[in-house]
Symmetry: C2
Subunit: 201 residues, 2 copies
């Protein structure tokens, strides 16, 4: 992994602002690439095929599972989500840092398969703030919102299994923190043992 | 440690540019404080008491050792160097990140006493570059330079015991890297378990 890019999991409850943080971070750091997930859920307004998701029918998604083309997949609120394997390995091989914005179960599976992964959990400043954000998005009905709030509680219980925690009380700062984490991880001794050999001492 | 500042070891061979990196890093990050070491060596031109070092006679230095007032001390090239205990613990308690610019043996002792310490090893881009820098400083005679070069080789063999490696091929970048390491370390789950309780989930 030392000469390749970093594989990064960005996790956290729905509505916490993972996507916004990532967009800001990518604006400042051109070495980040998003892993584009496959999903069976319907596109939201403005979402594009192969940019936000690979939108799949349930039948096609199940074919990908059968052919072992997904690093992980999960069923969540009635829809399937998964991470296409070749896509992320190509990007890592090209030296990009690949960020997976992913649910808790998927994250756990990625960590098992790629122990060198860097895992970051995003928290809202308070739980009430998260509730406000989820209600304010206005793209889901109240039943879905309540489901997500309950789920958020469960997800946050797993936050202590991640490497890093970012509290999203300021998008700009949160994006800078994410970029710092990537920078620092590239400086760890574990990822740089080859340098001690190459440098010619 | 979670609510206090970070204790940071900055290590690396003499002449690699630790002091210059630190000055740059402190210019951008007002939360860093240097640990001021005690030493029996003579002040170099421009060095100030209690800023660069606490300059001590050998007799006074030995008294500090007897009274257990030093976190660590070492004899190096005929002089004593040590880290006053109360000084760093006061700064950490005030929330500052305290950086110790320190030799390899001292670093090992600090790591034993403070396992939560963040350790950073600074490498020159090449060994030849280090030789040029040591010769170019012009403050030491050639015998001292040769001693330091031999010592540098021995020190660099320990680089893989540190948490992070910074290659000093550009002072500005090296300073930014150091600041990123401090930022990222403050986001690790180990240093933030209290947040998961305080945030009220």
């Amino acid at each position: 992994m030392s000469h390749k890019g970093l594989l990064v999991i960005l996790c956290g409850p729905s509505g916490v602002g993972k996507g916004t943080i990532l967009n800001k971070a990518m604006h400042k750091n051109k070495n980040i690439r998003l892993s584009v997930s496959a999903t069976t859920r319907s596109p939201r307004s403005g979402e594009e095929e192969a940019v936000n998701y690979y939108f799949k029918s349930i039948r096609d998604f199940k074919k990908m599972i059968e052919k072992d083309e997904l690093v992980e997949w999960v069923e969540y609120c009635g829809n399937y989500y998964g991470t296409p394997k070749r896509h992320i390995e190509d990007l890592l091989g090209q030296g990009y840092d690949v960020v997976l914005e992913i649910e808790v179960e998927g994250a756990a599976r990625i960590k098992n398969k790629y122990p060198e992964v860097v895992s970051v959990f995003v928290l809202p400043p308070t739980f009430e703030e998260l509730r406000t954000r989820l209600a304010g998005r206005g793209t889901e009905d109240s039943e879905v919102i309540e489901k997500r709030i309950e789920r958020a509680r469960q997800e946050i219980e797993h936050a202590d299994k991640y490497d890093y925690i970012i509290i999203n009380d300021d998008i700009d700062e949160a994006a800078d923190k994410l970029n710092c984490i990537l920078q620092a991880e590239k400086l760890t001794v574990e990822r740089n043992k080859h340098i001690l050999e190459e440098i010619g001492f």
